[in-house]
Amino acid sequence: MLATQLSVDDLVSCIPDGAKIALPPDYSYCALAAVRALIRRGARDLHIVGVPTFGFQGDMLIGAGCVATVETSAVTLSEHGLAPRFTKAIKEASIKMMDATCPAVHAALQASEKGIPFIPLRGLVGSDILANRSDWKVGNNPFAESDDPIVYLPALRPDVALIHAPLADKFGNVWIGVRRELMLMAHASAETYVTAEKIVDYNLMGDLKTKAGTIPGLYVSAIAEAENGAWPLGIPDGYGADHPHLAKYAADARSDQGFQRYMEQFVFGSAAQAAE
């Protein structure tokens, strides 16, 4: 079955305002070209989920006013420090924050992947993470002989998984190698939108070696070709991150004016769009 192939702009037009969007961390395969397009289309009220954390892309979305809710185990620009727009939004209480811990995000996505309504997880008891998550419950381990409190996490089913990949094929199969949290995101989400460095004509499932690291087209709603689509982040085994640019963002985004200037230059500017 052939995949739906779109331009990056048309791809993000499939993501409605208010959508719950799963995003990978900066060291994985992030769809930055799509995120810029999402900002350009003026997305609003997004609920962004870091799997299990996010960085640059989420900070940009927050700064651009696209985000109502953040659900993640951390927000970080790694060596470039705190995420400035996220930090400002939290201090101003202008977004709803749902702090998590990494394995809870993975486990809750696995519950969605399996079609089970919840999954138990160890840890968390007595933490303020738990105290501030009214959507989580503490139950008892039904197999324990005595009292054994354990956290019950409801299945986390994003409306959209938005990812970038080094390779996809015309059937919508997407190669992600060992970055299987992207596969989990695709399994767990209602829709998965993928940008890829390259879309090939052969079948990635045709060779057991590539098949082993491939998300089947079954889960993929639409794909778009986007060469260099992770920039300014890098992709493992592909190109490296553009660290001078990331450092510039981290500096610019410390002020409202600096962030606006960055947006004008690299997201909205006609030069920026032409470069996508």
Binding site: T53, A74, I90, H106, I129
Partner: protein, 247 residues
């Protein structure tokens, strides 16, 4: 301390708490714990594994981001490192916010895996290079992960040591508090009292000085460990060991 650096003292002191373990995991952006794990691995005669979390390289996992936590949950991870914007006298760790959680004075990245790993990894070594009353507090503003739990809570893991730029604390699980184990060369017990925001126990008798690594360990640190760590943390390796990244 002659020409032994603080970093080398810390690396040696941490490594002494890892010897004999099978699997030590290190978080991203943790060069000193990373170097300590590599030193312990070098001394293990090929019986210790070291993995680095949150990095695309230097890990041997193939089942996505969840695997390292599954590994810990199964009891296949013996030691891990946690830091905190605040750490308090009950070994609670705060990686989230200072002030009111809903509208904080300071906001940090977040709890990462701490809310889980602190419960399931037997030896969690707390590590904080800024030892001041601002960081080592009486009570944290937000508990990313509690130091101790009630008896009915499943908790094979927990705090094992707290190491700072000034000293090493042991953990008293019975009394649920820290006990000063040793003071790093050049520091004093009085200074520790002044710079620590929480109450802690003292050992019987004189407080020892944290030993500097022996000659063999020092050679390993400055040789193979420095070289390996420079592949993960080039800036750190260049600054501390004067090791450049391989061209």
């Amino acid at each position: 301390m002659t020409n032994v650096l603080l970093e080398e003292v810390l690396i040696g002191a941490i490594a002494n708490n890892l010897d004999g373990l099978r699997h030590v995991a290190v978080g991203a952006a943790s060069p000193i714990p990373g170097a300590a794990a590599l030193l312990a691995r070098s001394r293990s005669n090929g019986t210790m594994r070291v993995s680095v979390l949150g990095s695309e390289d230097n890990n041997f996992f193939t089942d996505g981001g969840k695997e390292i936590f599954d590994v810990a949950g199964q009891g296949r991870m013996d030691a891990f490192f946690l830091s905190g914007a605040q750490i308090d006298g009950k070994a609670n760790v705060n990686l989230v916010a200072v002030g009111d959680y809903a509208q904080p004075k300071a906001r940090f990245p977040g709890s990462f895996g701490s809310g889980y790993l602190y419960f399931v990894v037997p030896r969690v070594i707390l590590f904080r290079l800024e030892h001041t009353p601002r960081t080592l507090v009486e009570e944290v503003d937000f508990i990313s992960a509690p130091g101790f739990s009630d008896d009915n809570v499943y908790r094979p893991g927990g705090p094992y040591k707290l190491i700072t730029d000034r000293c090493l604390f042991d953990v008293d699980k019975e009394r649920r508090c820290f006990r000063l184990e040793s003071v790093h060369p050049g520091h004093t017990v009085e200074e520790i009292h002044i710079q620590t925001g929480f109450k802690f126990d003292l050992p019987d008798g004189e407080v020892p000085v944290t030993p500097v690594p022996d000659a063999a360990s020092l050679a390993t640190i400055r040789g193979e460990v420095a070289k390996e760590i420079s592949e993960i943390y080039p800036a750190f390796a260049a600054r501390v060991f004067g090791v450049g990244k391989a061209a």
